[in-house]
Structures are given as C-alpha cells and as structure tokens.
Symmetry: C2
Subunit: 114 residues, 2 copies
C-alpha cells in the first residue's frame, strides 16, 4: 500500500462558524482520530460530556479551559495533552478563536481486550 497524501491540520482552517468543526482523520476498530476546530464555542450551561470512549486530547493551536464535575478547571495551551477516561464527566468552559484539537478516541471494548 502507498502512503496517503499529506493533509495539514492547521491550514486552511474552516471559515469562522457558529458551531465547532469536526473532521475524522483516521478510523480503525476501537480507534478514531478527529480534528476539532473550536472558535470560541463552549459547552451549553449544565451540559456534560460523558463518553463511552477514552479520549486523548492534544491542543494543536489556541487555548482552552476544561471543567470537571468536582469543579476543577484546567487551562490548556498549544502542545498540551491529557487523557480523559471514559465516563469522566467534563465540559468546555473556554476556547480561544481558531483553537485546534486533535482527539484520539479509544473504545472501552478495545481497552477491555488488553
């Protein structure tokens, strides 16, 4: 098999928009890699992400603040990574314009097969 063509995650970015932009970059059984472009969007009041998959996050550009259910907030800058385990409730309380995330989702099934 041949290598794929090159795709740049930072240029061009989608036009500024009212909603976040999601692009799936790679899928495998139990694995999905996405680029997410946030343009100031935050989670709606009272909304919590509570996912069946582990989510490994890398902030490629911009700034963001996440909040956990215990009230802890963590600020992220370019290059920051963290793992949000499945079922860990979290929300997004700040994103700078043109913030770019890389998100790697791993299903619980894959983790259980270890």
């Amino acid at each position: 098999m041949k290598p794929t063509s090159i795709l740049n995650l930072l240029y061009p970015l989608p036009e500024s928009a009212a909603s976040e932009d999601f692009q799936t970059l790679l899928t495998r059984p139990g694995l999905r890699i996405e680029r997410i472009v946030s343009d100031g969007q935050v989670s709606p009041p009272g909304f919590w992400y509570e996912q069946a998959e582990d989510e490994w996050l890398l902030l490629l550009a911009g700034q963001a603040v996440l909040e956990y259910e215990d009230g802890q907030q963590v600020a992220l800058v370019m290059g920051d990574t963290l793992l949000i385990p499945a079922a860990c409730r979290h929300r997004v309380v700040f994103t700078a314009p043109r913030s770019v995330w890389l998100a790697v989702f791993c299903t619980a099934e894959v983790a259980a097969a270890r």
Copy 2:
C-alpha cells in the same frame, strides 16, 4: 476515573542529542502513541523502515523530508499529517533541529479485526 495531568509535547524538549528521543504517550491493545523528537537525524544510508503497523504521523514542529522506495520524496511542515501503511518502506532523509513528531501506531491485528 480521573483525567490525567497535563503533559506538554513542545516544552520542555529533551536536550539536543546524538539520537532521536522517543516517549510513549498512550498504549492500548493495537494502539501506541509516541512523541519523537528529531534533531537533524536521518535514516542511515540504505536503511528502510518496514513496519508491521500502520503509522499515522503528525509533524508538530520543525520540518522533515521522507523518502519512499520508488524515490518519491515528501516534505513535511508543522501540522502536516499522513498515513504510512504497514509494510510501506520509507526512510527519513531530512529533519530540522528540534523537530517534533506525533506518531500513532495501529497494529495489523487491530486492522484485520475490522
């Protein structure tokens, strides 16, 4: 489960060194995410990577040039991504100082289970 602490992939970088620096960031069955810091290193003459895993590459900082067996060379800049399928022979012919890669390796076993 709690989210992990934040780890930044760009700062601090390891001291300039004679060999590349490899750091495993996440492992799951059939999945491994690594940070690789290249500091001008290239593949030795005549050496080809020929891997059992698919490798999804993202250049986070710096510049690099890859070469394939048919002689094609591809230049990568910050934000560039590509997928090098398992068994696709390739080598690194240029890296700028302090180049930082994110490499996601997916085993053929996982791909076959699709």
